[in-house]
Amino acid sequence: MRSSHASTAQVRLRYRPASDVLSGDIELGMLAAGDPVTHSPDADTHLTWFPVLGDDEALAGFHLLHASAQAAHGRLDALPVPLARLIPHLIERGLAALPADGTTLQRADVRVDATISVPVGQLARPSPTGHPPAEWSVEPADIARTVESLTTLAHTLGAAAHRFPAAHQPPTIALAAAVRELASVIQRSTGRTAPGTAAAARAALSRHLPFAPHERNELLAALTDVDDTQSWPAVWALVDDLCASLQHSRALG
């Protein structure tokens, strides 16, 4: 019998820059033996593993949400190395293909594809000891409190956007949308974090916004701490203070 390590699999990658979603589909063919198992280490990463001959499991597909933000923050370690090397180039090509003056539908239709051959051995699932177990022991009250804080922040930012000068409105709306999505995803993810969405919010924060330096630093710290459920109480405090500060700051008039 031919060893699965010596075989190669065709990996088809698809990237949609408008929604920042990267999908991969791996053709394992006859090597696949058994039913697929889907694993989501967080709310923004979904991996599908197939039992294969001679190995425990091999990657059969994946979805990476907020892929550009995750790639920018070096969060591609859940994927095999050959794919993690290719993905930044694919994302760059996709973002360059977005028409600057196109309609929303035209931009949503943009998609870039790539196909590579990868040895099946390099698609093998890492041993469980290499990954710490996911944190599932989050109390529902903690989730609700975090969601409440982030939702309030999104509303504050959304209300503030209309008072800002025209040049500052688009980045503020982008930040408000990212924070709102972060709150909604955390609310529905049963205690899992959403590092991709948080990274996208941090990326939105890095744009030109009319915030004081200390407000920007506090928000950045909150959006960093939200990736760790143990730090959520600190997030509440930071975000609540920031909301009060934003509501009374001179920037909001």
Binding site: V21, H63, R107, A108, D109, A174, S184
Partner: protein, 208 residues
Amino acid sequence: MPTSPSTAILDRATEHYAGALHRQVVRVLASRPLDADDVAQAVVVWFLGQPEVLMARYPDPVRLGRVAARHACISFDRRQRIQRCEGARLFVQADGTVQPGRRTISGNTPAVEGGDELLDLMAQPTLFVDDHVVTQQFCADMLSTLQRGLSAADCELLMLVDGHGWPVNVLATRLGVARETLSRRISRIRRHVQQNRTHMALTGTTTT
């Protein structure tokens, strides 16, 4: 449907919403044995057909994403069952071939009137079957309320004249009555329907 003038801010908000919608559909469907990215793109295209309406109804794109993904899953499962001919009975035809004798929805329950149309509706990937059925039921209730108090012959006359456009004089000749007689009867039926319509508008109900 009227929409407000396109502005850069509205376009930007729509684009953010569409992106979040796409991502949420992928989140929900990632563990399903279907192409989550394709389904999500179909949902986004559907959303962009009426963005302002849907953004007003579902301010949170994550919530709409969950609803749309659920409907897409139901439609996908139903379409697969239809394609697998599950629930269809096969009958031997006169020429010896075996064909579905009648389309059934499930098990051995025969399709009721309009069953074929219902199966076609369920096979559409982007149609919200539940909403469509509710709308159809509402229209049927409204029509029933408008016809309240009319005989079956009255309803048939009204349908022939106002629905199919038959001239009153031609219809009177075919029915063997005077044109004036038929005209008075049609007028009486129309007044009755108008009274039912007024009552329905004032009470806000469609049920008897």
